[in-house]
Symmetry: C2
Subunit: 212 residues, 2 copies
């Protein structure tokens, strides 16, 4: 086998369309000009039907020839090493991208996803809100001082951080103009728009194939 394969679900309900995490890998490939094929696992029985490929029953995972890599963050770092459009090749630039990529996963998303989970479970003013506000304020300070997180230009760290921040409930949590401008700037990129439209089309096509 050769080439890149992005694995996602065959179908999802309307709600998450445009936010399913295969979008992160599509977006990175579009930025880097890397060709890819999209393949699917069934949404039905998703928690157990592809544990051999993803031990937590999630998507996406990335195929690269004989390699298969789960965790969107890992897929992004793997892709980043294929193209300097996603990550510079010098050690300082690479370290900067690495730290901000991990910060998106482990300092921001580690708070925002559980906060959001509690919120949609009905606990709107949940006990993670204080922590959430503090982390977003710290990030707002950084984004007030620079256009891109790492290496002085767009990198995969911005792709991931913007994807974490663009979740509507997260975006609406407080008023942080620098962060808002950042999300607008990053998601205004043609590669994001194409990846998002392609994901929405993918699931819409699945609707059309479904028996009425």
């Amino acid at each position: 086998m050769s080439g890149l394969t992005i694995w996602t679900y065959d179908w999802v309900p309307d709600g998450p369309r445009g936010f399913v995490r295969d979008l992160r890998l599509r977006w990175a490939c579009e930025e880097a000009g890397l060709g890819y094929t999209v393949r699917t696992v069934a949404f039905k029985d998703r928690e157990t039907n592809h544990l051999e490929q993803q031990p937590f029953g999630q998507i996406p995972f990335l195929g690269d020839g004989d390699l298969e890599i789960f965790e969107s963050g890992a897929g992004l770092l793997h892709l980043a090493r294929k193209s300097d459009k996603l990550m510079p090749r010098d050690p300082a630039g690479e370290a900067d991208v690495l730290q901000w990529t991990i910060a998106a996963l482990n300092s921001i998303e580690m708070v925002s996803v559980p906060w959001w989970f509690l919120k949609i479970s009905g606990d709107k003013d949940n006990a993670l809100a204080g922590w959430m506000g503090k982390r977003l304020d710290q990030l707002e300070k950084v984004l007030g001082e620079r256009e891109w997180l790492a290496a002085g230009r767009f990198t995969v760290a911005d792709l991931l951080m913007a994807d974490v921040l663009r979740v509507p409930d997260v975006r609406a949590f407080g008023n942080r103009p620098a962060s808002e401008a950042y999300v607008t700037r990053v998601t205004d990129r043609p590669a994001f728009k194409k990846a998002r439209a392609d994901q929405i089309d993918h699931f819409a096509a699945a609707d059309r194939r479904r028996p009425a």
Copy 2:
């Protein structure tokens, strides 16, 4: 400048000693036989006194010559590329270590830390408990089938996952014999024991320097 520097606090209260995350970087260096110096920022005013080095006011961060890298996960991946004791050099092994390292940060710790935060905030049976149990059960299944997470041997992915799982409240959450045996096996390594003892000594020495 040359050589590795691990930055931590000058002092912490008794509670977190043995669990402060500079331990992850110490442990990795000990496994790899990499020399390092420990330097400190003040625990007092820690949320604002080193924002130039760590935008979320946390530790650890890693110095490597002229580079400085925050986020313990990023520091671990940076160190892993210096030694095949932490990560194999072949693409398949490297991808496997990368995915499990990110899984520790973004699939397990993303649940366990917020769950623990709610628990110590007084909400023992909090709304994240179901998600937490599910993720730990999924991991238990994996650990029931293999000794190490990635590449068929100890890697930095085990170092990180075991550090996430060894938190006493996490370890006591349900009965998962394969996970328990895994944590015991990984933390039985001499490099972990040395890193933990060194951290405890570091903070104990700070007690002795404090005015009575």
